[in-house]
């Protein structure tokens, strides 16, 4: 039984009489299985938070259905949400209350006692700073408190939206360690993040969305095990280099990425490609193989930065 299952889940916002409605999430279908550390990736404004908001009951879907722990009726979903610990976007707490008092409020809603609050503070390393008011906390402390709140009630599913937002590298590492620890304890984690190398290290599965549409969902290992790509650089026009490369038959695809061309080709055909380019009057000054990372896959699938256009 899937922990999360969505079926054509959509959300359309009507902005006003004169502006057309915006389709923030467009018929997304995916599932998260128990024990997975599931990365939910997409550029800013791609619909990640809206999708998570629908799953958490704060945004009403305009179409489609979803189930949590196999439950889909309104009352059942409400009960199922008691098995979820989640934080959305920035940590949202009462600024005038201490870390501990904020957790006490959450603990009451989740039917937990003070001992659970102590445990959550301990896990996220806030025991010493538990009396600090939320408004006086650093961003790292706020993020840790948010994770602490998600852990109250010993949830089976933990949903974290950009948990490393605003953190320095040390803070990011702390959060990464906490999440990794939770994954190792068999928790199902649904994680949205921009930090792709972190996602690659932490997640077992990912879904990538762009402009509200699901582009792919797969095991991380499957995405990154694709054949490496060749990266070419030469003097002169990068467009000409790309077109000439694409015209060489063994090349499966060639794309401009900034001032270089990224080529999908078998390693054994590289020498022949170099020869072909020399015949066409192009002298390469850089030719290297690049392993496929989650970041490179993400950039390729989402269009990446400007100038990243497909030719073949």
């Amino acid at each position: 039984m899937a922990v999360i299952q969505t079926q054509n889940l959509s959300k359309q916002y009507s902005s006003g009489l004169r502006t057309p409605p915006t389709l923030a999430v467009d018929a997304i279908t995916f599932s998260v299985e128990p024990g997975q550390v599931f990365g939910f990736l997409g550029p800013n404004g791609s619909g990640k938070t809206t999708t998570i908001g629908m799953l958490l009951g704060i945004i009403t879907p305009t179409a489609g259905v979803f189930s949590l722990f196999g439950k889909s009726g309104p009352e059942e979903v409400l009960a199922a949400r008691q098995r979820i610990g989640a934080t959305l976007e920035y940590p949202n707490f009462y600024p005038y209350l201490s870390c501990r008092d904020n957790l006490r409020l959450v603990a009451r809603v989740k039917g937990r006692d003070r001992k659970a609050v102590d445990e959550a503070l301990e896990i996220v390393g806030l025991t010493q700073r538990q009396k600090t008011k939320f408004s006086a906390c650093s961003m790292g402390m706020k993020q840790r408190l948010a994770i602490g709140a998600t852990l109250l009630g010993d949830p089976e599913l933990i949903v974290l939206d950009e948990p490393a937002n605003g953190l320095d590298p040390a803070g990011q590492r702390e959060i990464r360690d906490v999440i990794r620890g939770l994954g190792e304890r068999g928790k199902t984690i649904f994680l949205s993040s921009h930090i792709l190398h972190d996602v690659e290290r932490m997640c077992t599965h990912v879904a990538i969305i762009e402009k509200g549409r699901l582009i792919t969902t797969s095991a991380v290992a499957n995405l990154t095990s694709e054949a490496p790509v060749a990266v070419l650089r030469a003097d002169g026009s990068v467009e000409k280099l790309c077109a000439t490369t694409a015209a060489f038959e063994p090349v499966r695809s060639a794309e401009v990425r900034g001032d270089e061309v990224v080529v999908e080709i078998d390693e054994g055909d590289l020498a022949a490609l170099n020869e072909h380019l020399m015949k066409e009057g192009i002298l390469l000054h850089h030719l290297a193989l690049e392993r496929q990372t989650l970041e490179s896959v993400f950039m390729r699938l989402t269009g990446g930065d400007e100038g990243f256009g497909a030719v073949a």
Binding site: I58, R81, Q82, R104, V106, V109, K110, A120, D154
Partner: protein, 289 residues
């Protein structure tokens, strides 16, 4: 983490206890609420304290029970309605700007449960402000009362009736405060809107309209703030106090106030309270957090 308790008590009947405890906890730790309540208490203390001191200085002035009830339950209770409404707006609308309303739902409350938490808060604030006024007003009056010499009951049955009227008037305007809070979702503009309604909507606009169309005057009396004021004075509930008010007016050669149809005005106020709370709920449910 320790193993979860069997079941999830927050979703059962116990949710009401959780909501009450959480709302009370949040309110009493909120400095803005404490300051508002403190300032309200200070105003009452100055008012009733002055009556107490004056009664000790002047022989022809009394501040003792049961006569003092007419001073405790008077038109001045409008101040209570205003202060308590400010407290509601501050406590409710900030839940949206801090996005804690959203987080409360993420943490496991349904939107309906969250809303009922705020409805509980409205009642709680009413109780706290009314109790404060009663403690100070009745406390200073009791201090100046010779209980042995009292010829009439110091706590007549009209007191609970007046208390109910004050609470109902509060629920009507408190409901309006809740409505603007969940609609505007920002304390400053919500407070401004509430005050605009009370001043412009119920004072200035009716004054201008009735100047042009005098026949509309009775209609404006049914608006929430005006209707609330109809059930505040103690003489509305207490026959002997009303007789004194009439006698005083006649002595001053002024027109005595007419006794309002209590059932009508109680119904009007109850109607406003129900309408505002139902509207608040409908609007809150409709919008995403």
């Amino acid at each position: 983490m320790s193993a979860p308790e069997k079941g999830y008590p927050a979703l059962g009947f116990g949710v009401w206890t959780v909501l009450l405890r959480n709302e009370f906890f949040k309110a009493r730790h909120r400095l803005a609420f404490v300051v508002t309540l403190g300032f309200f208490a200070f105003i009452n203390f100055m008012d009733f304290g002055d009556d107490f001191m004056r009664a000790r200085r002047e022989d022809d002035f009394t501040h003792a029970l049961p006569d003092a009830w007419s001073g405790i339950f008077s038109g001045d209770s409008v101040i209570l309605l205003i202060f308590a409404s400010i407290a509601i707006i501050m406590l409710v609308s900030s839940e949206f700007s801090w996005r804690t309303a959203r987080q409360n739902v993420i943490d496991g409350l349904s939107k309906t449960q969250w809303f009922w938490g705020k409805a509980i808060l409205v009642v709680l604030i009413g109780i706290v402000f009314i109790t404060t006024k009663l403690l100070i007003g009745a406390g200073t009056a009791a201090a100046g009362t010779d209980f042995g010499a009292a010829t009439a009951p110091v706590l007549p049955l009209s007191v609970p009736a007046a208390l109910g009227g004050l609470m109902l008037a509060f629920l009507s305007l408190g409901g309006l405060a809740l409505l603007v809070s969940v609609t505007v979702r920002n304390a400053g503009p919500a407070m401004a809107l509430w005050f605009f309604w009370i001043t412009l909507g119920e004072q200035l606009v009716p004054a201008l309209v009735t100047r042009v169309l005098p026949a509309t005057a009775p209609f404006f009396g049914y608006l929430p703030f005006s209707a609330a004021q109809k059930i505040l004075p103690f003489w509305v509930y207490d026959a002997s106090t009303y007789a004194r008010v009439v006698a005083r007016a006649e002595a001053a050669e002024q027109a005595a106030p007419e006794l309002p149809d209590l059932m009508l005005w109680v119904s009007v106020n109850a109607g406003w309270a129900v309408l505002f709370i139902a509207l608040s709920y409908a609007l809150f449910r409709r919008r995403d957090l």
